[in-house]
């Protein structure tokens, strides 16, 4: 009996914190829950000149912990909070090779122990929707990352999460000054910041979100629409579109991003995912304005505890106008129980810049995520 009740309460806490809409929960007792995960991996990088294994924390979903709480203030009016901090050592998108050798000492100082604020969020919800206030996801955060393949930890849409800090080498072996992450990434809007956000109730699987806030003293506005449904024999679908604008300053232009993603999982396990984003780039007022564009496609197969997928991404005009970056990858995730993932991934990053030739950057990763 006790076990069953805890299951119900845990499910209600999770759902209440993250599910938008009008759901009314029978459970009324205020609850607080602690949760988190450890996300570690071994990453091998080869930039054509140097190669090395690194111990990393997978940026796709790093080591973190948090607290959530929820309760019923009045009939039909629920409230709650979420506090979440990450604690990553050697983030997988930061390790790199430098002229003096491999750099794998992040954070470089231990004075703050690597803690980073992710969520400091309070919310209230009712039949009219939900309002969040505090540090948390902007309305469009994640809209380019719909992915039902089950391989997110190995080869997720964040293509620079693993090995994004490595520079391309020129043909003679020198550093190009352009990293993998600067040449291609999913441009997933404005991430997390201090904001107030409204989430509509869910209508037939659709919901909309709008947020307004500030990051680095610059105002941010975001709007997005989300869809999620099971369509019987047609399988399952997740999709989202978003828009964001960060106001400019004396030294930066307004930063506007538009994009979205769609992922389809058939009952057989076959799945397809596509992501697109376009962003004003660079944001500095110096230099010619240009748009950077990201396209990503993934095909995968998921059966039981196993998920495998191949993916391909293109990034145009990211570091400089005319740049063409490409990524080819394959990933596998074993998910034997809900709280454990073991994965392996292999990918190749390429960059073309006019007549300049760069060495490929090859990344191989094996790792695990354990949730508690």
């Amino acid at each position: 009996m006790k076990k069953l009740r805890k299951t119900q309460v845990a499910a209600a806490v999770g759902a209440a914190l993250f599910v938008a809409g009008t759901t009314v929960y029978a459970q009324t007792a205020p609850t607080v829950q602690v949760y988190g995960q450890v996300s570690r991996a071994l990453l091998f990088a080869d930039d054509g000149v140097q190669s090395k294994w690194f111990h990393v924390d997978n940026e796709a979903s790093g080591t973190r912990f948090g607290f959530t709480g929820t309760g019923q203030a009045l009939p039909g009016l629920r409230y709650g909070f979420r506090i979440e901090l990450d604690l990553q050592s050697n983030e997988s998108q930061l390790v790199n090779f430098s002229p003096t050798g491999p750099v794998n000492n992040f954070p470089g100082t231990t004075s703050n122990a690597g803690f980073n604020e992710r969520h400091m969020d309070a919310w209230v919800e009712g039949g009219w929707g939900r309002v969040n206030i505090g540090q948390g996801d902007g309305a469009s955060n994640g809209a380019t990352e719909s992915d039902l393949s089950g391989t997110g930890m190995a080869n997720g849409i964040g293509v620079a999460d693993l090995g994004g800090g490595f520079q391309y080498r020129t043909a003679p072996g020198g550093f190009s000054g352009t990293t993998v992450g600067q040449s291609i990434n999913q441009q997933d809007f404005e991430s997390r910041y201090d904001r107030i956000m409204y989430v509509t109730p869910t209508f037939g699987g659709f919901r909309a979100q709008a947020s307004w806030g500030s990051n680095a003293n610059l105002d941010i506005t975001e709007i997005s629409a989300w869809y999620g449904a099971k369509m019987g024999g047609l399988g399952e679908l997740a999709a989202a579109v978003g828009w964001s604008e960060q106001k400019g300053s004396a030294t930066t232009r307004a930063d506007e991003t538009i994009g979205g993603s769609i992922s389809w999982l058939h009952g057989s396990g076959f799945n397809l995912t596509y992501s697109y984003s376009n962003r004003d780039n660079p944001t500095a007022t110096t230099g010619a304005a240009r748009d950077s564009t990201f396209n990503y496609i993934k095909a995968g197969f998921k059966r039981g505890a196993h998920a495998v997928a191949v993916d391909y991404a293109m990034g145009d005009d990211f570091a400089t106008a005319g740049d063409e970056a490409k990524m080819y990858g394959i990933g596998y995730v074993w998910n034997p129980v809900r709280w454990l993932e073991l994965y392996g991934a292999y990918k190749i990053h390429q960059l073309d810049r006019g007549a300049t030739s760069f060495e490929d950057v090859t990344i191989a990763t094996i790792g695990t995520r354990v949730r508690f």
């Binding site: 805890k6 806490v13 999770g14 759902a15 829950q33 995960q37 999620g228 019987g232």
Partner: protein, 97 residues
């Protein structure tokens, strides 16, 4: 490309009309409901005054018999005399001359 994407998204949305809504979680999120301790140990705290109290367990035959004997003795003249004597002793101890 952008226009094509919007068309694909609209078509997918329309195709899904009448489907069962599902809330999808981003693979980056930490879902508390998927944790190792989510439903097995004390990963949560609840207010004590909202925890329902368990119904009292029925007394065994031996316990019922002992209670019956105690109740009968409580109403006996000897028991009342003893309790009055003990109360008087207690009063004297608290009120010394």
């Amino acid at each position: 490309m952008r226009k094509g994407f919007n068309v694909v998204l609209l078509a997918a949305g329309l195709a899904g009309c009448g489907a069962t809504p599902v809330e999808h979680r981003n693979y980056r999120d930490s879902d508390p409901a998927k944790g190792l301790f989510a439903d097995t140990t004390s990963g949560e705290w609840r207010r004590k005054d909202t925890i329902p109290t368990a119904a009292p367990a029925p007394a065994s035959a031996v316990e019922q018999d002992e209670f019956k004997k105690w109740r009968e003795s409580a109403s006996s003249p000897e028991r009342r005399e003893f309790e009055e004597w003990r109360a008087w002793q207690e009063w004297k101890r608290n009120n010394p001359k």
